[in-house]
Symmetry: C2
Subunit: 111 residues, 2 copies
Amino acid sequence: MDYKIKSRIWIETNGHVLLGEGRIKLLKAIDKLGSLSKAAKSMDMSYNKAWNLVDSINKSAKKPVVSKTIGGKGGGGTIITNHGKKLIQVYNNINSSCWKFLDHQLKELDL
Amino acid sequence: MDYKIKSRIWIETNGHVLLGEGRIKLLKAIDKLGSLSKAAKSMDMSYNKAWNLVDSINKSAKKPVVSKTIGGKGGGGTIITNHGKKLIQVYNNINSSCWKFLDHQLKELDL
């Protein structure tokens, strides 16, 4: 039998979800596209839903994760702050090490 | 800030879900109540849905996990096999150690 073990992790602050798989995906899209509306569109998500997610992330985080830029060539956009980039990296690292940990656990077993 | 990290794990065999949180809950209820219909009722689940889950578990597992008993005082019931009990224990153990692992990962971080 080919056993596999899978996981989903999420981080909460003060009882509220800060980051989960969907939020991380949205933050990465914002980082790539530099715009909340483009990021929402790329994920087939309404602008309102994306805005609410970003608002919830910013409210749950210690420091802002997503920030608006004003003016410039394209008339401003949305960027991920340094704190946000750190959180994305932390989430990815914990996720990868969790998968490795679980694979190892499974290999130890005689199922 | 009070950070918490949470996880959900599930085990697959040959690309099909074998065990996840809902399935484990159902198996535990069957084990406790000795009856699939009582277990389904205790979880506010239809008998059909519970039966389909049990059928899917049995088909994905190496050996039967849930088995019917025939006759006896109550006219037969549903029990968890030894292989099933082992799987429940394995799932619980991996889940607990995953939580410990994630808590430890989080403590290492300066968020």
